[in-house]
């Protein structure tokens, strides 16, 4: 892999995208071949689910490519839009009242753009405290002006939580992109790709392990598939993928494995928390509730990233003292 490490940035990126799109094309071709066979209903349903997932991955990969081509501004914008759509979905499924209108406006049209501008402008100090400190204080004040004491704490807490996950968590992805590490200039996009790759690997690893292992769920009321064993397997899968990608990162090989494992493990915990939230809101899939959320179901897919990004971001900074 030393040869790979010596390539310049553009070559490495080109290689990554060729590998990514090549893999996707291969998977799609195999899937197409399999759909041509005669099958029963259960198999067809599984294929249909796979088709949806595959399409989501394609869309994700293309978006990444567009973001890379359009540079830092494009990438920041892309994650801002993702964050907007995720927050929209979260708020739809949360109980808010009329008096929250102004706080919600503030969240969507004030805090969200500002947080991403801070990420894009690399004002890291303000970026890190803006939501946990200032927004935390501002939202309840604006809500209180709404003059409605009913379930006040609950409503405010929910809005704050949504902002934390959908905006704060997500904004760490573009921040990662722009993070300046010693001898790793202008390669932040790799870190984002690396993060997405390991989180996806963890997710796939955990899901397939859970389907085969049938081990005891940790919290059966929240998720029947989440078990410590499946979780560890997911983390190991993330570590392996992280290790394979080490040539594109600033890490040493063992660091790449460790970082991948940490990010993957956090992502899976994020997914687990989202499942608890879904159960609370009474939906099985965010996107499955066609009536309100439509076919998007984006929150489901980005939640692991929202949880993994801040942890990964701080791990990288801590490792490099950046």
């Amino acid at each position: 892999m030393g040869a790979l490490r010596n390539l310049d940035v553009t070559q490495q990126v080109a290689l990554l995208f060729v590998v990514l799109f090549g893999l996707l094309t291969l998977v799609t071709a195999v899937w197409l071949a399999r759909t041509l066979r005669e099958t029963d209903d259960a198999e067809r349903e599984r294929q249909e689910r796979f088709r949806r997932d595959l399409r989501a991955v394609w869309v994700g990969a293309l978006l990444f490519w567009v973001a890379w081509v359009s540079g830092a501004i494009g990438a920041t914008l892309l994650f801002a839009v993702l964050s907007f759509v995720a927050l929209r979905e979260f708020i739809t499924l949360t109980h808010t009242r009329r008096a929250d209108h102004r706080s919600l406006l503030l969240a969507f049209f004030g805090i969200l753009p500002l947080q991403f501008v801070l990420a894009g402008a690399q004002s890291l100090n303000l970026f890190m405290v803006f939501i946990p400190v200032y927004t935390f204080l501002a939202i309840p004040v604006v809500s209180a002006f709404g003059d409605d004491p009913q379930r006040f704490l609950e409503r405010t807490a929910k809005i704050q939580w949504g902002i934390m996950v959908c905006i704060y968590g997500m904004s760490h992805a573009p921040a990662l992109l722009l993070l300046e590490l010693p001898q790793y200039n202008e390669r932040g996009a790799f870190l984002v790709l690396y993060l997405v790759a390991v989180v996806t690997a963890a997710y796939i690893g955990q899901e397939s392990a859970a389907r085969r292992l049938r081990s005891l769920p940790v919290a059966r009321h929240i998720s029947r598939s989440f078990s410590w064993r499946a979780w560890s397997i997911g983390a190991v899968a993330a570590g392996l993928v992280g290790g394979l990608l080490y040539w594109a990162t600033p890490f040493k090989p063992w660091q790449a494995v460790g970082m991948g494992g940490i990010a993957g493990a956090c992502g899976m915990l994020g997914d687990f928390v989202m499942q608890a939230l879904k159960r609370d809101a009474g939906v099985r899939h965010w996107g499955g509730k066609v009536s309100v959320t439509g076919a998007v179901g984006l929150l489901d897919r980005v939640a692991p990233l929202c949880f993994a990004a801040p942890v990964f971001f701080h791990s990288v900074r801590w490792l490099y003292g950046a």
């Binding site: 907007f84 927050l87 929209r88 979905e89 708020i91 739809t92 808010t96 009329r98 209108h101 919600l104 406006l105 969507f108 049209f109 066609v290 009536s291 309100v292 959320t293 439509g294 076919a295 998007v296």
Partner: protein
Amino acid sequence: MNLAAAAGLFLAGLTRLITGAQGHWYGCPPKAEQRVYFANHQSHFDWVLIWAALPSDLRARTRPIAARDYWTASAFKQWLTTEVFNAVYVSRVRSADEDPLEPLAEALENGDSLVIFPEGTRSNKGEPQAFKSGLYHLAQRFPEVQLIPAWIDNVQRVMPKGEVVPVPILCSVTFGAPLQLESGEDKDAFLVRAREAVIALRQVAD
């Protein structure tokens, strides 16, 4: 493309960004037939939402109803309702010798589709109020036009009364099966049935 068409596309895009504007066609397909859509009314946003949920080829021939005194009061309002939405104007003050439904009948005779809110006014109590009789008279005069019930979900959260800026929250419009006026069915029975057809779609939406 002229300015009005561009403004229409922009508005539809904006509505989709803010509300998702999901159209769910349960009882009928989105076809270019002549139709009267009737829906529950909770917000000023209702019309734009239905309009954005329609496929673009249906939008051009589907018209809202606008109160003449309010929507022609300024040049911008007039431009918006005439050029962008192609609204049918009705007057709210009823003069003795004028049938208030006449402009609607004229539009239907021209082959256009309409969107009406038979409650007459916005309600925010959840249950729609009793329907006004206009729907019945239209059904009587135009038996060949399909009457499509529609349920608009969640929109009151987007823009509550008194607010001007909409909050991004996902909404949906559920379109039901066409309704017909039975032979010999009297006005009240039909209006109750029409209202129930709209409410029944809420269960489908949930």
